[in-house]
């Protein structure tokens, strides 16, 4: 006698589990334009690599004789798999069983799924399509009591952010704990039209007198612009490659270092267009993204958070094969001035770089923090100072390309707290505590007012000071490491990445990562 009958029993349960919440629920889910949890997992991981864990966990029905008559799987499907050939842990909510709410799941399996990845030091990808953790208030009646809100494994969930890369894809209407599970990640994505995120959904909000649709309340466009999530995409199919690409730049955990990838792009490659990328007219803007793309390894620029905090561009890239984090100013948005949102966005990228030991390259064109009434109302100095603190507290190797302006306190973001920092200035660079135009009024008021022609006097002083503003003058006093030919920027940065690689230090960051 073999154990074949028992294996047949196991197989039968596995087959039933594949039916998810049943054909009707699955059809309704797909009619809403969404993929099933199993289609999502298949779209995300390397083909055939998913090894499910807890495949027969769920809610069986037995007849009096103890024969299985029906089976509803727990609404979390999870397991280990590979992405780009590397081990990961994936967990997906099954909306077709109790709307993904936790009363359609098994507490033990959910806790397992949230904690396994950190224990085994592999990245975690969450496919979130569930409502809150509290399930339903109907629970009250069953339990006969209530309880202080707690998620016992939450400490571990947050702790994971200091040890392993966590990616969360919001793939449905997620509220409460589901929303927090999207936000508690290093990289989060929502899908336009089919995913929404909120503290509480429209029925609860309606009680406050606001009648809104799911999309009006928490659609992806809202949250991609306010920084609640990092990026929005047009379809679920577009979300999966973004998750895969993001993970490709990172180590599997903080206990390892990000691997170098072979590149065909020559480190000495020059880019002729960079000689005239910055207009000579100081008021004229230029496009920063093509500059970044011209410098990093071809095809290896991955922008994050394009829709918010727009005066700073953030992303991941490779230089001579080494993964690096990128900050770059966008003069099209307030001339590159750091707003409250831009500061928050910069903090998020710097903290990611510090946690996973990615050297940072900062393409600097910062006229200062944004000034004016709206800027003050938005708390720009609080968030700006936090950003400067994040920069200075970071200890990863750092390299600034001084593209144009660096003025005021925000200009301090050109260097971090690492002893290993370098600044290469383009000839178009200019810097100082104060920009000349505004500063002249304040510093020379008496002289200007006393002159027979005050306007002419002001112009004369400005011209005199502008002549002193050449970066060459600063370089003569060794106030900047080097002035370079913009066309050769790539070779400088590739050598920086080579130098920086052995300085990276694996291990837990000094601070716990805050999502």
């Amino acid at each position: 006698m073999s154990w074949k009958p028992e294996l047949d029993d196991l197989e039968r349960r596995r087959r039933l589990a594949l039916e998810l919440g049943g054909p009707d629920k699955v059809a309704r889910h797909k009619a809403a334009g969404k993929l099933t949890v199993r289609e999502r997992l298949a779209g995300l991981v390397d083909e055939g690599s998913l090894e499910e864990i807890g495949s027969v966990a769920g809610f069986p029905e037995y007849d009096e004789a103890g024969h299985l008559t029906g089976f509803t799987p727990a609404n979390v499907v999870c397991g280990r798999a590979r992405i780009g050939g590397r081990n990961v842990f994936v967990t997906g909510d099954d909306f077709t069983v109790r709307g993904g709410a936790n009363d359609g799941g098994l507490r033990e399996k959910f806790q397992f799924a949230e904690t396994w990845a950190r224990r085994w030091r592999v990245p975690l990808v969450r496919l979130v399509d569930g409502t809150g953790g509290g399930g339903s208030v109907k629970h009250l009646e069953t339990m006969g009591r209530t309880y202080l809100p707690d998620v016992p494994q939450f400490t571990e969930v947050l702790d994971a952010l200091s040890e392993i890369p966590v990616v969360a894809l919001g793939l449905g209407s997620v509220a409460g704990m589901g929303a927090a599970r999207v936000c508690a990640s290093h990289y989060s994505v929502m899908v336009r039209g089919t995913s929404q995120l909120f503290a509480a959904g429209p029925p609860v909000v309606a009680r406050t007198g606001q009648v809104v649709t799911k999309e009006e309340l928490g659609g992806s466009a809202i949250h991609a612009k306010n920084g609640t999530i990092d990026d929005e995409v047009a379809s679920e199919e577009e979300a999966f490659p973004r998750a895969r690409r993001f993970l490709g730049f990172l180590p599997s955990s903080v206990h390892e270092l990000a691997a170098r990838q072979p590149t065909n792009d020559q480190p000495e490659r020059t880019a002729e267009q960079l000689l005239s990328a910055v207009p000579r007219d100081a008021r004229q803007v230029y496009k920063m993204r093509p500059i970044v793309e011209a410098v990093v390894d071809a095809g290896n620029w991955f922008e994050i958070g394009k829709a918010w905090g727009k005066s700073v561009i953030t992303g991941l890239a490779r230089l001579n094969g080494w993964p690096v984090a990128i900050l770059a100013s966008d003069p099209y948005h307030y001339g590159g001035a750091w707003t409250a949102d831009a500061s928050r966005k910069a903090i998020r990228m710097i903290d990611l770089a510090q946690t996973f030991q990615l050297p940072v390259v900062h393409f600097v064109d910062i006229p200062g923090f944004l000034i004016g009434k709206e800027a003050e109302a938005s708390g720009v100095m609080r968030f700006g100072t936090q950003a400067l603190a994040a920069v200075r507290q970071s200890t990863v190797p750092w390299c600034a390309v001084m593209v144009r302006k660096a003025f005021g306190m925000a200009g301090l973001s050109q260097r971090n707290g690492s002893p290993a920092f370098l600044r290469y200035a383009w000839p178009s660079a200019q810097w100082g505590s104060l920009p000349i135009a505004g500063g002249v009024e304040a510093a020379y008021r008496a002289v200007i007012e006393a002159a027979p022609d005050p306007a002419a006097k002001r112009r004369e002083i400005e011209a005199k000071l502008e002549a002193l503003q050449s970066p060459l003058r600063t370089a003569e006093a060794f106030g900047v490491e080097e002035i370079i030919d913009p066309r050769e920027t790539r070779s400088y940065l590739c050598r920086f990445a080579d130098l920086a690689a052995p300085l990276r230090q694996p291990g837990r960051p000094h601070f716990g990562y805050r999502p």
């Binding site: 100081a282 008021r283 004229q284 803007v285 727009k310 003069p331 099209y332 948005h333 307030y334 001339g335 590159g336 001035a337 006229p367 200062g368 944004l370 000034i371 004016g372 709206e374 920009p435 135009a437």
Partner: protein, 72 residues
Amino acid sequence: MTQNVTSPVAGQLLTRLVQEGDAVAPDTEVAIVEAMKMHIPVVAERAGRVALWLVSEDSQIAEGQALLTLEA
């Protein structure tokens, strides 16, 4: 169908680059706004015909304020 072109930044409307009645292609610069001493172009994301200017030159505008209306 009409659509507003909004300013990505707060500042002063320096120049209108298109006139009412003009057809614009996607990514056409329709105005220049001065902010942080920089001349920042405002771009029409979609194609259309300029139906109505909503603000005059030199006026102060808020971030996200509609500058003009485009007809598809």
